[in-house]
Amino acid sequence: MQVSMTVNGRVRKADVEPRLLLVHFLREHLLLTGAHVGCDTSQCGACTVIVDGRSAKACTMFAVQADGSTITTVEGLAANGQLHPVQEGFWDQHGLQCGYCTPGMIMSAVNLLQDTPHPTDRQIREGISGNFCRCTGYQHIVNAVRQAAGRR
């Protein structure tokens, strides 16, 4: 099936199998390998991207469902050579170790801050509770999101 979507500001068209997952379309067809696959049951959130302004687990959508959508992946977050404040926060606060969950975690945090620009720590923890991290115990991630929200 033909799909067309805007990914990180570029229109991308392809002929795909109907069953192709969005995450595999991004990774295998567009070579945007920032979104990772960490599970097969939609729990881990490593594949999180922003679809039409909302965070979405790209393993839980087919590429054809994203036809006509506007998508931002972690590769599209930095602009004009400037890291996104959430990326800066993760770097400054050691919000990552192995880095595998990080792109999805960052995209969830971006979505959280869109909805709740000044979250409490509790709201941060709830906002990223759809994303697993096995390395950090989440504390430095909370610090990272708090920094990005301008609450140091």
Binding site: E17, R19, L20, R27, L32, T33, G34, A35, H36, V37, G38, C39, D40, T41, Q43, C44, A46, T73, V74, E75, L77, A78, L83, Q87, F90, W91, D92, H94, L96, Q97, C98, G99, Y100, C101, T102, P103, I106, D121, I124, R125, E126, I128, S129, N131, F132, C133, R134, C135, T136, G137, Y138, Q139, H140, I141, V142
Partner: protein
Amino acid sequence: MAAPVLPKLVGERVRRREDPRLIQGRATYVDDIKIAGMQHLAFKRSEVAHGRIRSIDTSAAAAMDGVEAVLTGAQIAELLAPMPIGTPFPSPPHRAVAVDTVRYAGEPVAVVVARDRYVARDAADAIVVTYDVLPAVVDPELAMTGTPTVIHPDFPNNLAVALVPSGTGVSADGTVDDSAIDAAFTQAEVVISQRMVNHRLVPNAMEPRGVVAHYEPGKDAMTIWSSTQNPHILRTMIAAMTGMGQDQVRAIAPEVGGGFGAKINIYAEEYVAAVVTRKLGIPVKWVEDRTEAFVATTHGRDLLAYVDLAATRDGKVLGLKMRIIADIGAYNMLLTAAIPTLTMLMANGTYDIPAIRTTLTEVFTNKTPTDAYRGAGRPEATYFLERAMDMLARELKMDPAEVRRRNFIAPHRFPFATQMGAVYDSGDYEKALARALEAAGWEALRAERDAARTDGRLVGLGLAMYVEVCGIGPSATLPTGGWEHSQVTVERDGRISATTGASPHGQGNETTFAQMLADQFGVPMEHVTIRHGDTDVVKQGIGTFGSRSQAVGGTALHMAGSKVKAKMAKFAAALLEAHEGDIVFENGRIGVRGAPASAKAFADVAAFAYIPVPLPEGLEPGLSDEAFFEPSNNTYPFGCHITMLEIDRDTGEPTLLKLVAVDDAGHLINPLIVEGQIHGGLAQGIGQAMVEEAVYSDDGQLLTGSFMDYALPRATDFPTFELHATVTPTPVNPLGAKGVGEAGTLGSTPSIVNAAVDALSGFGVTHIDMMLRPEKLWRIINRT
């Protein structure tokens, strides 16, 4: 003009150099690798836990469009010998792909090679296997009776390791003298006896395993990328199993998304990928699905122990018995049989116990094999001992801190040879305990707990000490050798490149090691590059496990750096017409002590070393050297974890209110990274105590076989951890660094269970087996 003064970096909270690629989606993990012509592997796995393969029909799979090959266990067996292990214990043959019998659900029975991962999966699903189902056994104590089944014919009663005694009265030749341990229990005024379970866990690195193998027939050379903790061990094993030379195999650990011990092993899928690419002459990739990972990647823990503690009424421990039974699953993997021996080694804990007797029995069951998982044997020892110490305190109505204090190994007794054969390098346990009590506000917490109880709330306090064995370890203790290797090169332009065999997967070695070299050479950290994870770049190495990167790998780096620096000083001395002993490296310059104006730029000295005209007498050109560091001993970090927990009276749900951790890892290179390591360890220790558990049905099906059923902790499960430290350097290495990666898993788990027992002590409970499932706690609250 004065040169800018470079800040000292060791000991500073430097943000990581790894992060820019990781936070922008620009890192390369195994699944991000593509090679032209690459095919994908998928494994057909057994659905039954124990059975004889009656038939395998691969015809439908082989006929599918895009399928290159389908290979059964028998066909793989023609290419691949049974998989080796790294321990001296006897072991049954373990085929990478089962030939006639399957012994756990998830064991591979066939492999498909196909155009893409979707086709490969479809084809694997189209393979039809029929079994004569045999009885399965999942309870190790039942398995020890040889009923209802014997899993390996040459191992009666399913005993992988029949019984190994250790401790007081057990001599090297195996003779056993019971008099001391018997006397301890005869003299005891109080004896604590408890059966305890340290249950099975699934490691669950967020990146599942994966491998790309590429054999190039024209070169007779193999490159294998794998999500592994130890590429050099992978190279050794792949070479041995394919019959190739180690010079013909290049192993690469690209970005690795966590390991936690489960990526130490060299697995069936890696061997199969290697022999398939060699047979077909095309590159192949295999990436594990998560649900597959739950059964195909080794599990952790799964020990039970009968613990007896003998003491006087004033709280002095006289003797400890620990009869350990390890459920190792269906096969021995690389280190499987050795992991529970670490539980014996560390049974002593932080205490001076006059007599200890441990025994270890390892048992086959129809489950996924166990092997190293963060802490690997030491959290189990800590859990058993610290639960027993807590039970003793409760029995004696003594403050749990006081009963521990009365038994500590005193600071002046280090190095301390334990009853279990360890030699603790350095320690000050009283100090760590005092620091934790003070930081937590122990007395105030007790008042808070008591006030909450007056209000009818179920609040408990828990405390646990731990001592860890890290910096693993001398070569005598590891089948691979226990050293680490590093090469340091000052390049012609004055930049520094260094390699380390300590192949990281989140530990941040590119940062910490660059901090060290920058300080050592007096240059900016931006001028230093640390390379790792590629056996063609890193000449030798062991790998990252046993909290050894800094203590062993960091020391090798320091030693190699020292050699190069000494040589560079000679070149500088020649240029400056000075004595090499007077040469100083600082602020990007090399000069003579007390005469900074004459100093040469670091890069100019480097250039001279590569175009040495005239060549100073006795020197070879160039600035590159290597070091192997063989530690004389392990290191023994320690600490104290205090927790406060509340249990909902109506639902039994536990909530962790507070966690205070004092960890002593010796000198720290980067406290920010150390904090991250401790946080991660705590999260996994808390996870075990409170939410994680691998549960099997009686017929050997993993019931918690996906993230739908196995609770990986989420951000909402944790309070803000409160970290503190004491610093007791190790004399084992010149850095004084002990290692910290696993520590968090040791103290947190028993501390939490101690707190839960404290919270429910009003209901007459003295022990609760993990994990603290609300239903279990609710039943304690509601039993009348």
